[in-house]
């Protein structure tokens, strides 16, 4: 097991399983799911597509979400994303202005 973050949460508030799905479906599912994640809560995303370690940080960076890191549990990759406490991600996208 390889830990790619210093402070991964021990328990997530929500879990999304996208194992067996490939780019960009995991992000599409995560986008849908994030709408129901509360402010400050953490979403755990379980995937097998190795590209999620690139896509999820990029998605978070553009959307104002906090990428907490990922852990490998071969063949699975488990990523953690936190929704910021105020304002972000209404209607599936950040409300941060340009």
């Amino acid at each position: 097991m390889q830990n790619k973050c210093f402070e991964l949460p021990e328990k997530a508030d929500h879990v999304l399983n996208v194992e067996g799905l490939f780019c960009p479906v995991p992000i599409a599912r995560a986008t849908e799911r994030m709408v129901s994640v509360g402010d400050g809560e953490v979403l755990e995303i379980r995937a097998t597509d190795p590209g999620v370690i690139i896509d999820i940080p990029a998605w978070c960076h553009g959307s104002g979400l906090e990428f907490l890191g990922y852990r490998r549990e071969a063949p699975r990759i488990v990523c953690y994303v936190r929704k910021p406490r105020a304002g972000a991600f209404e209607n599936g996208a950040s409300t941060r202005s340009a």
Partner: protein, 349 residues
């Protein structure tokens, strides 16, 4: 333009060179931008990922370019899976196909209609794209652009920043939401000017322009897709089957049964993933490919398929080859004479 209420726009973003430039141009005019990227199920990246291919020798996975571009410009990208609703666009396009099975006009109408709904939902005033006049024959000429605008319910509301000064003025320009003079007048298929612009605008690591990433423009993929639609109810086709069309050699055995023969280790690994639901054939005594059976073969079919599996293994010149057929917990061992080299061509898809 500084005292006005912020204007919001929706980008149709692939993350390629042109749409990345369009994004930068509009954002630099003080417009608040969100982007949408539609997953139709026919993008090449999913096949690269499924097969474990990497984008370079360092083992970096293929990235989603729309997300890359969004992260670079710090704008949110909404990835929307439209693969189920997209099916009629491919099977029954009103405006026909291009050279392969690419329904480009219908595809643009479909995507822009979806984009219009998102635009309304998020309170955006217009949609913009990276289209360039004269770059693609089906959709990027004036008549097609006008047709697409009308059919998608966005007349005057689709801005194409890279060619805007060559096109009729749009509502965002007329209203002063964007400054037409700061937009471009690019035309044609060349990308030299875009590459220079990308440097000036610090676009970052955009993908090399290579004609897009849609499998439907590939004649080989199109031939296999036609065959699939000819033999199956399109509604019954699972997402992984579209990925399978990009993998291995495809050989039709009967109207109900087709086989896929892996061409290398990564294709073999990919095909092995589906053995719970489908027959998989291998040759335990000889190095060779994995053969996946699509459909429900009879015992006779399975014996015949074993001859194909034997034909592609290292024992193809042996008088007989042992072939192991497995599906879930079920397993059969067959001794067969390999097929000859020249009697496969007609069945090859």
């Amino acid at each position: 333009m500084s005292s006005r209420e912020p204007i919001k726009a929706l980008a149709l973003l692939s993350g390629g060179l042109d749409s990345s430039i369009a994004l930068s141009l509009i954002k630099s005019q003080g417009i608040e931008v969100e982007a949408v990227n539609f997953h139709t199920g026919f993008c090449l990246t999913d096949a690269h990922r499924a097969l474990g291919r990497t984008a370079n020798k360092n083992g970096t996975p293929y990235r989603n370019e729309a997300l890359r571009a969004g992260a670079h410009e710090q704008i949110p990208v909404r990835v929307v899976d439209v693969s189920k609703d997209y099916l009629p666009v491919v099977t029954k396009p009103r405006y026909g196909y291009g050279q392969a099975m690419n329904p480009c006009v219908d595809c643009r109408i479909f995507m822009l209609t979806r984009a219009r709904k998102i635009m309304e939902e998020i309170g955006a005033k217009f949609v913009f794209t990276g289209e360039v006049l004269g770059q693609r024959p089906m959709t990027q000429h004036l008549r097609a652009m006008q047709l697409i605008e009308e059919q998608s319910g966005l007349p005057g509301l689709i801005l194409r920043p890279l060619s805007a000064r060559l096109l009729p003025e749009t509502t965002p320009e007329k209203m002063g939401w964007v400054d037409r003079e700061k937009l471009l007048a690019l035309t044609g298929r060349g990308r030299r000017l875009q590459m220079l612009l990308a440097e000036q605008l610090k676009i970052g690591e955009y993908p090399q322009p290579a004609g897009g990433c849609c499998s439907l423009v590939d004649p080989n993929f199109a031939r296999r897709l036609r065959d699939l639609y000819d033999h199956r109810d399109p509604e019954s086709i699972q997402p992984e089957e579209y990925v399978m069309l990009k993998v291995g050699r495809h050989i039709r055995i009967t109207a109900q049964v087709k086989i896929i023969v892996g061409r290398n280790e990564s294709e073999n690994r990919f095909l092995e993933m589906w053995r719970a639901q489908r027959w998989i054939l291998t040759t335990p005594d000889h190095p060779g490919p994995t053969t996946l059976v699509d459909g429900e073969p009879t015992d006779e079919d399975l014996a015949e398929i074993a001859r194909y599996a034997a034909r592609y293994c290292d024992g193809k010149h042996a008088p007989e080859v042992t072939v192991l057929a497995r599906r879930g917990e079920e397993s059969r061992t067959l001794r067969v004479v390999p097929r000859g080299e020249y009697d496969i061509a007609e069945q090859m898809l």
